[in-house]
């Protein structure tokens, strides 16, 4: 019934139906999340006995003064700041290209999407070979351009670059798919109207396609940023469990991993997790804010 208003009884009934999923969510998502927050506040904490000495901000203070954390934060930010714009721009350009050739679109979509569904370990192996100093594909290509070979994976100057290349490459397929979906969503009438209104191809892109593609672009940017903030497995696979030469590829997630599993500093790891969580949350909030603004503007709803 359309005019039914929720009552205490109907709400209870609904909750009962939802209970299985709610319980699972609470146990496996909400509780660990809450726990991570709590652990980040434990000082003098013994993970094995569960003994908590005191509550406080000491773990965050530790992070604030830890040069390794600074390095991890700097690497992660650099990764996000380089990989995200390049990945988004590249994905948009490729999507626009694919959109022009409907016949081969399916083939290219599949090709670009493959990295996204391939195991990171396999990808790590392949890229290990591509990046090899002698006989690696990349260095062979560079030698064709008369650029001396680079030891991508062992030279601390280049190893972060190598990681960024892998991250861009891996995320590209998904972003292309999103952009293609966005492009298909734009009504062809607008392109026709713009052409009759005298817009050149470039004007049509900047004045019509690009603004109408903005929501999907924001989605892609945020999604790519979040993915790149959390880079871990690529590092693990590329550098065989290490954080690259001289910690050059130490990201926040790798830092967290090392603190937790290697150094047994659970509370510091949890605090690092909270910092990462805040970064991602701020990004998400900005996006949500943008969409609200946009929707008000466009729909008045």
């Amino acid at each position: 019934m359309l005019n039914q208003t929720p009552t205490a009884k109907s709400t209870l009934k609904a909750l009962l139906y939802l209970a299985p999923l709610l319980v699972l969510t609470a146990v496996f998502i909400l509780w660990p999340l809450l726990n991570a927050f709590l652990i980040s506040l434990y000082t003098k904490y013994n993970y094995y006995t569960g003994h908590v000495g005191a509550l406080g901000w000491a773990n965050f203070g530790y992070l604030w003064h830890d040069p390794t954390f600074h390095l991890a934060a700097r690497n992660t930010l650099l990764l996000v700041l380089v990989a995200v714009p390049v990945s988004v721009a590249l994905a948009l350009a490729i999507a626009l290209g694919i959109n022009q050739i409907p016949r081969l679109a399916d083939f290219f979509q599949t090709v670009y999407f493959l990295p996204f569904v391939t195991s990171t370990v396999a990808i790590g192996l392949v890229w290990n070979w591509i990046f090899r100093l002698d006989g690696g594909l990349l260095n062979r290509l560079l030698s064709l351009l008369h650029i001396p070979a680079i030891d991508w994976l062992n030279d601390p100057h280049y190893s972060l670059g190598a990681l960024i290349i892998v991250c861009i490459w891996q995320g590209l397929g998904f972003n292309i798919i999103l952009f293609l979906a966005g492009l298909n969503h734009i009504d062809h009438r607008f392109a026709r109207a713009a052409e009759l209104d005298g817009a050149s191809d470039w004007q049509r892109f900047t004045n019509v396609t690009w603004p109408l593609l903005m929501p999907i672009t924001i989605l892609v940017i945020v999604n790519t940023s979040i993915t790149n903030f959390k880079v871990f497995d690529q590092v693990y696979a590329l550098f065989h469990g290490a954080a690259g030469p001289g910690d050059a590829d130490l990201t926040l997630m790798v830092y967290l991993y090392q603190k937790f599993y290697v150094e047994n500093q659970m509370a510091v790891a949890a605090a690092c997790g909270v910092v990462l969580f805040l970064c991602v949350s701020v990004l998400t909030l900005i996006t949500v804010g943008y969409f609200h603004h946009r929707q008000r503007q466009l729909g008045g709803r």
């Binding site: 009438r189 009759l196 603004p211 008045g300």
Partner: protein, 345 residues
């Protein structure tokens, strides 16, 4: 600007051609309506003129210039689409100014022109709004203003009224008429609704089955249809069509004598109550419907079912009716009209 279409042929892959060797001419400075049922090729024709479709053969000529191979964006055409196609991310002001922005007109000059156009289509108080905040009629006004912004040589309106309700249609017809008169721009209006065409156009081109059936004023089309297709398409209720063989001999003396005629078309207002003793036909009243000012009477006669609008409300079940010769047109077996529409006969 005069538009000439010469020998146009258009076909899509593996389909029968939509237009074959099509010729027509759209006169300068007038409002021409392309009227036809759906599938008649009228929107195709408009897209050809706009340059959104390229003909397989033939020429499109604007005044003396052949534009067949010219891009849409260089043809200087304003077009209004059926569903407006206003840019959703731009305000009404920027929508109207869009063609000017594309032509790199400075902002001040652009907004000056937008203000004039907004005045013309009466949307001045809506300029800061987004298209979604406007009603259908307002959106259509904005679309017309946008189409006029760059002072096009030709204004194309593709079914501009078909998604509006009756009251708004009536109002927008007036707007279109008045704007065309004010600006004097050569205008082509595509519609499937004869009332749009009859109320707005200087001349009407009737299209059916990919052919130009007749060109003329609303009066011409109604009184002197060149063929049965036009006769059946123009006028409501539809013209009554009866095989000539069923007509009693005494009626034939009312009509001009021809040997080729096989079909008689009788306008509804030509079927009247019989007053004289001669030329009488017995009719059974099936139904009477009051449609505003008119009364439609559905009759069953020896000629088959007929519809009349000249019979006053009655309670009788059987009537004696007659035919007024002025509302009758004879058609040959191939559909051409023999009397009345003498142009093509």
């Amino acid at each position: 600007m005069r538009v000439t279409l010469k020998n146009i042929t258009l076909a899509y892959d593996q389909q029968p051609p939509i237009l074959t060797n099509f010729d027509c001419q759209i006169p300068d400075g007038q409002l021409t309506a392309l009227l036809g049922p759906s599938g008649s090729g009228k929107s195709t024709l408009l897209n050809l003129i706009a340059g959104l479709l390229t003909p397989n053969a033939g020429q499109i000529i604007f005044d003396q210039t052949d534009v067949t191979a010219t891009d849409s964006r260089h043809r200087n055409i304003g077009m209004v689409f059926q569903d407006y196609a206003l840019y959703p991310h731009l305000t009404v002001r920027d929508n109207i100014g869009f063609p000017l922005k594309m032509a790199h007109v400075k902002k001040a000059a652009r907004y000056q022109r937008v203000a004039e156009l907004a005045e013309l289509v009466q949307v001045t108080d809506q300029l800061s709004k987004f298209p979604q905040e406007l009603s259908g009629g307002q959106q259509q006004r904005v679309a017309i203003a946008r189409a006029l912004a760059k002072q096009p040589n030709l204004l194309l309106l593709d079914e501009p009224l078909s998604s509006l309700d009756a009251t708004l249609r009536e109002e927008l017809r007036g707007v279109i008429r008045q704007i065309q008169r004010t600006t004097g721009v050569t205008t082509v209006l595509v519609t499937h609704d004869q009332e749009d065409a009859l109320q707005v156009a200087d001349q009407i081109m009737v299209l059916a089955n990919g052919r130009l059936q007749q060109v003329g004023s609303g009066g011409d089309l109604y009184q002197h249809p060149t063929n049965l297709t036009v006769a059946q398409f123009i006028g409501r209720p539809r013209i009554n069509v009866v095989p000539l063989g069923l007509l009693p001999a005494e009626f034939k003396s009312l009509l001009p004598t021809t040997t080729q005629a096989t079909t008689l078309g009788i306008r509804s207002e030509a079927i009247r109550l019989a007053t004289a003793d001669r030329h009488r036909l017995t009719a059974t009243v099936i139904q009477q419907i009051q449609l505003g000012r008119d009364v439609q009477t559905h009759l069953q006669t020896a000629l088959g079912p007929l519809v009349s609008t000249a019979i006053p409300t009655t309670t009788a079940t059987t009537l004696a009716i007659t035919l007024a010769p002025t509302g009758c047109t004879l058609f040959a077996a191939d559909g051409h009209s023999l009397v009345g529409g003498d142009r093509d006969a």
